[in-house]
């Protein structure tokens, strides 16, 4: 367990912001040797925090670390970084489109199944195969290990919005079809949520595709 790659992919719910980093991880020892200070627990903490695997990769042997590029989780790009280059086509849709973020699962699906290369999986693993036929990986390429965490998805409005409840919003949306609704990208869990609401409540929205988190 001294060396392990955990490849991240959020499934890219951020529009047009695909980054692939091949730079040498900061703080890496020149020989890239194992760093016993980072336990498996640390690595899992890093995954929980949605951090780039460069933190995880510090105790990766160099030949493994540089064998493949890794996918930087879109949400974690933190654009203060200078050495990243944008390789993904801009303005590609989110989870339903192939983008650089799909490299994570694609790489892991072809990795040697020795337990040293793992996928930080998420909802995209179930959703993407249902909405995209050209993924470069199949659900059967992976076997589950464990669930780590969950986050809730919310219907949100601005703090000064007059609506205090979902019923308030639905009433307003019925009265005024075509209200502008934000969407975190086609196929993202959040877009699925507002689409379900739209169908179930019989509403018509004007969906504005924006990023969940824009920098």
């Amino acid at each position: 367990m001294n060396c392990m790659a955990v490849l991240m992919s959020s499934g890219c719910s951020e529009l047009g912001r695909s980054h692939l980093s091949r730079r040498r991880p900061r703080g890496l020892s020149p020989n890239g040797g194992p760093n016993p200070a980072l336990s498996v627990r640390h690595r899992i903490v890093a995954v929980q925090r949605g951090l780039h695997p460069e933190l995880l990769a510090r105790d990766q042997p160099a030949h493994r670390r540089h064998r493949d590029g890794w996918c930087r989780r879109c949400h974690a790009t933190g654009d203060g970084a200078k050495n990243k280059r944008e390789t993904g086509p801009a303005n590609r849709g989110g989870q339903s489109r192939r983008c650089q973020c799909q490299l994570g699962p694609a790489v892991v699906s072809k990795a040697k199944p020795d337990g040293y290369t793992l996928l930080a999986s998420a909802t995209f693993l179930l959703v993407n195969p249902l909405v995209d036929t050209e993924l470069g990986w199949r659900p059967s390429d992976f076997q589950p290990i464990a669930r780590l965490s969950m986050t809730h998805n919310l219907f949100t409005v601005g703090g000064s919005s007059p609506w205090q409840s979902l019923a308030d919003f639905v009433a307003a949306a019925r009265a005024r079809p075509g209200l502008p609704i934000g969407s975190g990208g086609v196929g993202s869990p959040q877009s699925m949520a507002h689409e379900l609401l739209r169908v179930r409540a019989g509403l018509e929205f004007n969906v504005i595709p924006t990023a969940v988190r824009r920098r």
């Binding site: 903490v45 995954v47 249902l130 464990a146 219907f155 601005g158 409840s165 949306a173």
Partner: protein, 132 residues
């Protein structure tokens, strides 16, 4: 989207709690409903979509670990045990809560069952949405 919500370009949007947490606490965003089976421990005042009358508007975001098919069972078990230990660590739970998430460990067998249920839900969702 957060900016669009704040400046009124969009009037409503779905956001993961992890992304919205800071703005909710600052009162700049308001949560109308949680699209989960249960209320969030972090937002106990916010009703679920089922409570608001939309029982199938449930969208779970989970995070886990998968291995390439064919990985030896001993490795799977070792990683599972490490993940179990980490999920019980108060520091890890605090970090997850700060990020707007919740540790929600499931071992391999339970995770597989959860995935099967969630996949069924997603298949229903995609079918529902493809018809409209």
């Amino acid at each position: 989207m957060m900016i669009d919500l704040l400046n009124g370009s969009v009037v409503m949007g779905g956001l993961p709690l992890a992304a919205a947490k800071g703005m909710l606490e600052a009162g700049k965003l308001r949560a109308l409903a949680t699209a989960s089976e249960e209320r969030s421990k972090l937002l106990p005042m916010v009703p679920t979509t089922a409570e608001a009358g939309y029982p199938d508007t449930i969208v779970l975001s989970w995070y886990g670990l998968h291995a390439p098919t064919g990985t030896p069972a001993a490795m799977i078990e070792a990683v599972t045990e490490a993940a179990r230990a980490a999920s019980l660590d108060p520091d890890v739970q605090a970090i997850a809560a700060t990020a707007g998430g919740e540790t929600a460990f499931l071992g391999t067998k339970d995770f597989i069952q959860f995935l099967n249920r969630d996949l069924e839900r997603w298949e229903r969702t995609v079918t529902t949405l493809s018809k409209r």
